[in-house]
Every structure is written in structure tokens, then in C-alpha cells.
């Protein structure tokens, strides 16, 4: 029998480093034990057979928007909508069907880090390309990731990179690169923002394809003084320069801590996570995170963001998101909970914890769960005798422990599997990663 502490740590590994267990997976992990399961959860297999059934959507360059009131504009608008939807469903399917949650989990983390929204980009292709870039480097080297992101069309459009020229440098990308992506707030001066903006002039982006080109005529080639050093930088060399700073290691460790451990407790000053990031290797930092003693501290609970809650329910109920009837209803449920992939609210990314817990979201979560349960596989519950349902359901969902309160509510519903599952999915113990 696993102890309560072991159950808690395994539940956290399952829900935070992946998207929660499918039926039976939590019990298997308990048998493996914490150490072996931690290694499994943080080691990406060469091939993920769970993803074999997913076909990559055809996301194409849709070209210039035809004039309003022309016959061409209708198919154009339909293609925009269809491709944007397919892209969202494709990603949700990957999260739900992956045999190994960490890769998708890290793409999701980086999407919130380099937060770019399709609502300014409009075209799906640049967003799709960005997702692939995040995927390539999700557990790779942060230095390479940053270089790639400076050349990312969606990020450049999002932060007005195309408007930044030697005559009129735009500081948007410059500021966010230091504040939100690489160094963290207050680790640079306003003069540094201006200097970096000069370095980053000259990019031009095609809106529909997201293709980035560099126009020397629009670029300011002069030397700048940035964070104490004077040099002529290129986009790549300036990225390397920022990433090499000690503040970068502090910042990335802080962000990982914030999303995986606690949004209210600060990163300890002597954190092993930062040390593990010395070579800017993301996988090492994530492994250090999974091994951190804070993973065992019962105070470090986190609210599951709506997409995380939805995907964990899909995995428990064996649901493929793109097969839900209908896709539009799915998006509408996610919109009510204010989280749709590719549409973060602003460049700062998704909010955390209490921000997801309003009475309105409680109401919308109940409606969403009701809708999912009708389309899900309830045999993990219906195959059990009524007496066993309350206890066994914690293992099914990867919940470390039901409180007496929740056990009481569940006991009321053991004769009604749909209501039983609804209560379990909407319980504080499932909405929150304990």
C-alpha cells in the first residue's frame, strides 16, 4: 500500500508533468513507486504510439484577405475558421491521447511563456509554425529556443516587430524579450529597452505565411550599450547574450516553479532548478523540478487551468476531443472558462490559481462536465460494485485523497454513475492539484 505522501507525489507528477492518468495508470504508478514513476514521467520515449492515430492538419498560407462583399471573401473566411479550429483540435487531441504527457505539457508551458494570441495574428499558419518551434525546443536548449523565437513570424507580428525600423524603432518586442521571455521584470533599464529595440530593427513579416525576412535598409547597424556591454549585435548574438546572463537562469527557474510548484511561494534562493539550468538545458531543469523537495510539501497546491482540467477529464473518460459532438460546442465551453489554446489573454500568458475560481466558472464547469460525461466511457465506475465506487474513483482520476466532505457527496450518488462522475470531476480535490 502506498502511503498518503507517496499518493500525493505521484498524483502531482501525473497531473502537473502530464495531463492526468487514463484508467488504470494511477494504480500502475503506485505499484512502481515514486522514484521509478518520476523517472518514467520525466523520460520522453523515442516513439509515442498514442499519437499514431492523429493526422496533422493541413494549415496553409491563405494569402491576402479578399475585399469585403466579393465572392472570394466567403471561402477565405471559411478556410480561416476551419483551419484555426482544426489546429486547436489537433493540439487538444495530442494532449489527450499522448502516452507520455510531459512533451505536450512543456509545449503548453512554453505557449504560455512566449504567449502569442491568434486574435492579433488572425492567420492560423504563423501560429501553427510557432507551435512547431515550441515543440522542437520544448525540452531542448533554451539558447536555441530563444534564437528561433526571435525569428518566429507570429511573435514578431504579435509584438509589432515589422513596424520597427531604424527611423522609428518599436520597443514592444525589445521590452517583452527581457521582461517576459528571458530575464524577468526590473532586471534591465529603460535605456536597455531602447538599445535592444535598435538591435531588433529591420525584420519584415508576411502576415499570412508568417515568413520572416530581414531588411538591412530598415535595420540600425550601430553599436549599442546593452546591460553594460557595448557591441554591434545581431538578433542571434543579442539573444545569446541575454540567455547567457545569470538572470536568465533565475528567471526560467522562477517561471517553471510558478507553473509546476506554486504561484504563491517564491522560488528558494538556492534552488537546484536554477543550478540544473546552467547549460540552458530545459530537460535538466524539468527533472530537477520533479525531484525538488517542494513536490512533497502539501502546501504547494495548484488550480488546474481549464484546459488542464478538461484534458485530464478526457483522459479519464477516454474521450478524443476532436470527436466530441460538436467541436463548436467544445470551443464554446472552453471560451466560457476563458481558456482556448492559441488565444492567451495577453503577452503575459494565462492567469493562475484563484483567477480560475469564480462562481461563474463553477457553474460553467458543471455544465461542461455534464456534456462530457454523456460522451465519455463510464465503465471504470459502472464496472465497480456501488460499495467500491467512492474509494476506487480516487485511483481512477489520480486524486491523492477524497476529503470526508467529498466522500459524503459521492456516496449520495453511487447509484447514479453520471451524477457520481460529475461530482467527482467538479470536486475541489479534482479542480485543484492537491
Amino acid at each position: 500500500m502506498a502511503t498518503q505522501a507517496e499518493r500525493l507525489e505521484i498524483a502531482r507528477l501525473s497531473h502537473r508533468f502530464g495531463f492526468g492518468p487514463r484508467p488504470g495508470e494511477f494504480a500502475t504508478a503506485l505499484k512502481l513507486g515514486v522514484s521509478a514513476y518520476r523517472i518514467e514521467a520525466t523520460t520522453v520515449p523515442a516513439i509515442d504510439t498514442g499519437l499514431a492515430v492523429i493526422t496533422e492538419p493541413m494549415i496553409t498560407d491563405l494569402g491576402k484577405r479578399p475585399s469585403p462583399n466579393t465572392p472570394e471573401v466567403i471561402p477565405f473566411a471559411q478556410a480561416m475558421r476551419a483551419q484555426s479550429l482544426q489546429m486547436v483540435l489537433w493540439w487538444l487531441d495530442r494532449m489527450a491521447l499522448s502516452n507520455h504527457g510531459l512533451s505536450e505539457r512543456m509545449v503548453w508551458f512554453w505557449h504560455g511563456h512566449w504567449a502569442t494570441s491568434i486574435d492579433k495574428i488572425n492567420y492560423p499558419l504563423p501560429m501553427f509554425t510557432q507551435n512547431k518551434t515550441l515543440r522542437t525546443y520544448a525540452l531542448g536548449n533554451f539558447k536555441e529556443m530563444s534564437r528561433a523565437m526571435i525569428n518566429d513570424g507570429a511573435l514578431q507580428i504579435w509584438l509589432d516587430g515589422g513596424d520597427s525600423t531604424v527611423k522609428a524603432p518599436n520597443e514592444n518586442l525589445s521590452r517583452e524579450l527581457m521582461e517576459l521571455f528571458i530575464l524577468g521584470v526590473n532586471r534591465y533599464s529603460e535605456d536597455d529597452v531602447k538599445a535592444l529595440a535598435k538591435v531588433l530593427t529591420g525584420y519584415q513579416i508576411n502576415n499570412s505565411s508568417g515568413k520572416v525576412t530581414f531588411n538591412l535598409k530598415r535595420h540600425d547597424p550601430s553599436a549599442v550599450t546593452l546591460l553594460g556591454s557595448s557591441a554591434i549585435f545581431s538578433g542571434e548574438s543579442v539573444s545569446d547574450y541575454l540567455v547567457a546572463r545569470d538572470d536568465c537562469a533565475t528567471f526560467i527557474a522562477e517561471r517553471l516553479w510558478y507553473r509546476f510548484i506554486s504561484s504563491s511561494q517564491p522560488l528558494p534562493t538556492d534552488s537546484t532548478i536554477k543550478k540544473a539550468f546552467t547549460e540552458r538545458n530545459i530537460a535538466s531543469a524539468v527533472t530537477a523540478l520533479a525531484n525538488d523537495v517542494a513536490m512533497r510539501d502539501p502546501n504547494n497546491s495548484l488550480v488546474k487551468a481549464p484546459v488542464e482540467w478538461f484534458i485530464s477529464a478526457c483522459r479519464a473518460l477516454q474521450i478524443t476531443p476532436s470527436k466530441l459532438d460538436s467541436s463548436n460546442q467544445l470551443i464554446s465551453h472552453l471560451q466560457k472558462l476563458v481558456q482556448v489554446p492559441f488565444s492567451p489573454p495577453n503577452v503575459g500568458g494565462w492567469p493562475t490559481d484563484e483567477a480560475w475560481l469564480s462562481s461563474a466558472s463553477a457553474q460553467y464547469r458543471i455544465a461542461f462536465a455534464k456534456w462530457l460525461i454523456k460522451q465519455g466511457d463510464l465503465t471504470p465506475i459502472t464496472s465497480l460494485s456501488q460499495n467500491a465506487r467512492v474509494t476506487k474513483s480516487a485511483d481512477w482520476l489520480g486524486v491523492s485523497a477524497w476529503s470526508n466532505r467529498t466522500q459524503g457527496a459521492l456516496r449520495n450518488a453511487v447509484g447514479d454513475p453520471e451524477e457520481f462522475v460529475l461530482l467527482a470531476l467538479c470536486s475541489p480535490e479534482y479542480v485543484v492539484s492537491a
Binding site: G348, Q363, S403, A413, C426, S427
Partner: protein, 412 residues
Amino acid sequence: MDTISRRKFLQLTGGAIAAGAAAPLLTLDQIAEAAINRPLALGTPIVVIVTLYGGNDGLNTVIPYKDPIYYSSRPDISYAENTMLPIGEDLALNPGMTGIKSLWDQKKVAIVRGVGYPKPDHSHFSAMAIWQTGSPVSHLSSGWLGRYIDSQPEDPMLAISLGSVLPPLLAGTKRSGSALPLGGLVVPTGTLAIDCQKLSRVSRDDSKLMAAAATSMRNLFSVSSQVAPILKAPAPVAADLPTVNGGNAGGDSNLSQQLDVVAKLIAAGSPTKVWSVSLGGFDTHANEANAQAELLGVVSKSIYKFMSQLKATNRASDVTMMVYSEFGRRVKGNASQGTDHGTSGPVFLIGDKVKGGFYGDQPSLTKLIDGDLAVTTDFRDIYSTILESILVTPAEKILGNWSGRTNFLLGK
């Protein structure tokens, strides 16, 4: 027409609440109780912010109708001169704005012309974020009135937005305004209700966040049937409008419904100093003239009715409204009888305390910047005056060091 609606913007930005600042959702009994037990002191100033989502065409709102360039720049979407409502200085209001014209004639309307901010952004998303955060330079996740909320003693009733999603305008860094859904919350019924109530009880096993999750569900049920006398009661009657069955006829648009609720709650004494209401649909890239006249008609009628309703209460002179949109539109019409995203636009301030008239310079139609109107007044001038002279709060804490002011209030 409506590529970015109010709903969409709120969906996108509704989660944009700084960490730790959960958005409370008010139940009717909370408001009723607060209004009865601790009503706002009579004479306390109240601000009502009206957001027009989509980019309202300022040039077809306050129209330079004597300027031939206006007609030649947009031959398909200019209005006939005899339908416009002249208000002096060679300007006229949109034909749909009869209600606001009447308030203008009563000297209760200040029109600030050419309002915007440096380096205007043409994206709905970014431009609205700039107006709502009050920060053209750096991306803030708090709204300008959210930071006002931060500066005040904690009170979930202090600032209320109509609708289920809180606009970033009212999101603070420590605390946020409250959202009041128009239709109230849909509460589970039957055995599910009993079980959900059981599920949301306090448990000593709960971590802080689990307890918060339980509370959020429990609050769903604290809407009790004996409450809501305030919201169920009829809205105050505007004596100068026709009445049908004891209430005013017409004006059942969404904006009007929102303002009805605001009027009822102001009349009841809700301890609320800031209200936020909104209307979408102003993204008139095509076939603009009729659509905009209709939308501005809704705005104008709703505001006129609201101001009239307030006259039936003892708080009419306490209320000041501000009406704004994220940008104006291009001077030149496009090929679809519409206009593309532009820059500056007029801001309206309306109320008994307002010194009616024009403020700021009308942007010239000959001195365009990349085809757009110049910005002649920074919105922070208006915000500063609202903060200091209405909400009696130092503007510096909220907007930083900003010296401009627009003195649109009487006696100032």
C-alpha cells in the same frame, strides 16, 4: 462586420487578472444586502464607464459637416447634411444621436475631440488593452480603474461590471471589481443541487486553493429566493419618456438592459462608485452608414433613458458617464462602404456635474498622419480628471507622473 465583438474581447482578456486577484461574481443578495445595510452616502460621486467595442468611427459621430474634405474622403458613407444634428463649431452629431443632442442642449455633455495616445495601435486587441490598462507604453495586466480599486479599502461592491466576464478595466493587482451577469447565475437543481451543496461544504482537509474552489461553488447557491427584490422591482421611471404599463417603452437593447440594472442599483443605494457597461459591433469595415447610425442610436437612447431614470432618484447629480471606444477609423472610406481601423476619436462625458461644451482640438482633415487623424488629447488627461476630481484619488498612483488634465467639470 463584427469581427471583434465585445464578447470576444472579454473572452480573450477576461482571464487577464493578476495573480491573487480573483474576480468575485456578485450574487443578488450580496448587492441587496449591501444596498440596504450600507448604502452609498448621498452626494458620493459615481462614475459609469460605457465601452464601445470594435472601434467607433469618430468622424461619423462628431461630424465636421461643413468641411468639403469630409464628403470627398468618404462619399459613400457620409450622411446628408439635413439629417445631421448641428452642435456648433461646424460640427454635428450623427443623425441617430437625438438623445445625446438633447442632453448637449441642456449643457450636460462634454465632447473631448481627437482623443488617443502616442503611436496609436491599429489592433483591436492591443488598442483596447491600452485604453483599459491606461498604459500605452508597457503591457500592464491591471486596468486603470483596477488600480483605483487597489487603492481603496476592500469592498466587492466598489466597482461592478455588468456581464459575466470582468473586463480588464476593473482588474487590479491585488483586488478586482465584481462581475454581475445580466441573467444572474444558472444554479443546478434537484438532487444535483443537494449533492453540489454537499460537495462545496467547508472541509478541514482542504488546502487554501481547494477551499477557494469549494467557496466558488457554494457562492453559486447563496442566491436565495427571498432576495432580489431590488432587481425584480421595476426600474426607476423616466418621467419625460412615454410609459407603458408603468415602465418606459422601447430601448430594450442589451446596453439599455445593462443601464436599467445600474439605475435600479444606484437608486437602491448600492455602495458602488464605478460601474462598467458596454456595447459591441462598431467594427464597421463595410456598409457603415446605416449600421453606425443604428448603433449610435442605441447608445444615445440608452444613455438618455438612463439619465432620465436617475432624475426620479435623489442621486441624479452624483453620476458622471464616460463613453469611449478603442480607436476611431480611417478618414478615407474603403471600397466596401466602410472604414478601416484608425486612430483618435471623441470621448463623451455626460452628467449634471459636467460643464457642457467642446474640449481639445478637432483633428484636421488636411494634416493627416499616414492617412489617420492626429491625436490632440491624451486619454490620460481625462482619466486623471476622473480620478482626482470625481473619485478623489491621486492620479499619480494609478497613471504615474502625468500632468495633463481635461477640466470638464463645473466649478473646476
